[in-house]
Symmetry: C2
């Protein structure tokens, strides 16, 4: 068990380093004059959790990536009474261990979609993987959507031919704003409580999702990186970001769970966009 925990947390940290390098590279290669400042660099911000463990936030406020958070954490301790009944394997024994990576990126250009990716391994009296990724274009482009789904489909198919359909459906249901009767973006995949009985295989799947993300999102970003945008495109983006905030604060389980269990507020709310508009109705 200790070796599994070690392997998982090391993978999340390695992926964080890779993503930092990849995103900083893109920052540097942008040429469009609408990027009116120097290429940004990530700041690393380690934190300790009262009760056990901690993490490292990596925050970029750049020119291509107006706000990017690439956070890893490995935490352990005991669930409060309130949560024991809700968590598989925690009713009898409240101890838990959790390690994961969480990425949310709000690009400067309205042509570059917002992205979220998160994967994690949780250990209670049970053990499972969870995570997913979903794409939120402010100005939807058919080609990106197809590319995104196709790449995830291929990765899923390498492990289990039922995964993609199941996990895509889960994302469609999860990333939805009932009060607006609209989806958050164009979907992706969402999975949780994954334990096939073959830990190696489940861990490989979680790594594969991370690797797919690390090549897929940069391809989509580069496709639109040096396109001009108008003030009206920007307005569209700032308004769409408002929907993102509404989703995260009204419905996102991870956000509410984190805030209610005394998680790191800065890390949890890293997902909120740098600038948002709610124009009058």
């Amino acid at each position: 068990m200790e070796s599994k925990k070690e392997q998982a947390s090391q993978w999340f940290s390695a992926l964080q380093r890779d993503l930092i390098n990849i995103f900083e590279e893109i920052e540097a290669e942008a040429t469009h004059s609408q990027y009116d400042k120097e290429p940004g660099k990530f700041r690393l911000k380690p934190w300790l959790r009262e009760g056990g463990g901690g993490g490292t936030m990596a925050i970029l406020e750049g020119r291509v990536f107006e706000k990017a958070g690439v956070n890893v954490s490995t935490v352990f301790g005991e669930f409060s009474e309130e949560f024991r009944a809700q968590i598989p394997g925690a009713a009898q024994d409240p101890r838990f261990w959790a390690s994961g990576i969480s990425v949310v990126i709000h690009p400067r250009s309205p042509h570059v979609p917002i992205i979220h990716m998160n994967t994690r391994m949780i250990v209670t009296q049970k053990l499972w993987f969870g995570g997913g990724t979903d794409l939120t274009p402010c100005i939807a482009i058919e080609k990106d959507t197809e590319h995104f789904h196709e790449a995830l489909n291929q990765t899923c198919d390498g492990f289990d031919l039922t995964y993609y359909e199941k996990f895509k459906k889960w994302a469609d249901e999860y990333f939805y704003l009932p009060h607006r009767q609209e989806p958050r973006g164009v979907g992706g995949i969402f999975y949780d409580y994954l334990n096939s009985g073959d830990w190696e295989n489940d861990f490989n799947f979680t790594q594969a999702i991370g690797r797919t993300f690390a090549s897929l999102y940069p391809e989509i970003v580069r496709r639109h990186l040096n396109k001009s945008w108008t003030d009206s495109d920007r307005k569209t983006q700032l308004k769409k970001r408002g929907r993102y905030v509404e989703f995260n604060l009204l419905y996102d389980r991870g956000t509410m769970f984190g805030l209610k269990t005394g998680g790191n507020v800065e890390a949890i709310l890293m997902s909120l966009p740098p600038v948002v508009e709610w124009p009058g109705a």
Copy 2:
């Protein structure tokens, strides 16, 4: 009963008209050069509720008041199963009638505090008034805070010497962000389920809160109306507005109740600021 409903809903509409005039006057009298556009006017937007009733939103996107919503509504119908147990007097008979006014103002100048005021009358098998007002300065000024509390104290004391202390405490508890461990603003009053047995008196109290608000907030606004602000003041304001969003979407009962009972999304989310920033940690 019908006469009481009529009187209450007429009062809320009359107060809406008064507030529209008062705020438009202030829009016109601002002289500072940082107000870089023409004085704004409210747009009226009536809406009908599926299930019974409706309302009128009044929206201003002006120069002093960057976004102001002054909404009235009178709605009736039946509570869904989910809510019957939670609402006084609705367990046996799900019919309800509700009328109220809701005001949220996000001023352009960081020196002018954000304000919220809301009063309502609800009828189920029981009848009660509720409401309150709370002040959220982005740059807190002792004099405003004292003035605000003092005026509410006086108004409350005209009705019941226990009201102010009780309703101030309720506001302090209610307008609080546990995850930030910080209050939303500097408080005010919050009351609910008010039925003293003397309807006239309770209605007079609700009117008195409205009238106090209609003179008090303009006095505070005018105190700071033509003061210059810096980019750093503006940043402080945009960040404080983020806390306002967090409160309204994570904790505000009215917002969640409205969204879950199929209320008018535009009217409910009118409280969200026009521009907000969540800078990287």
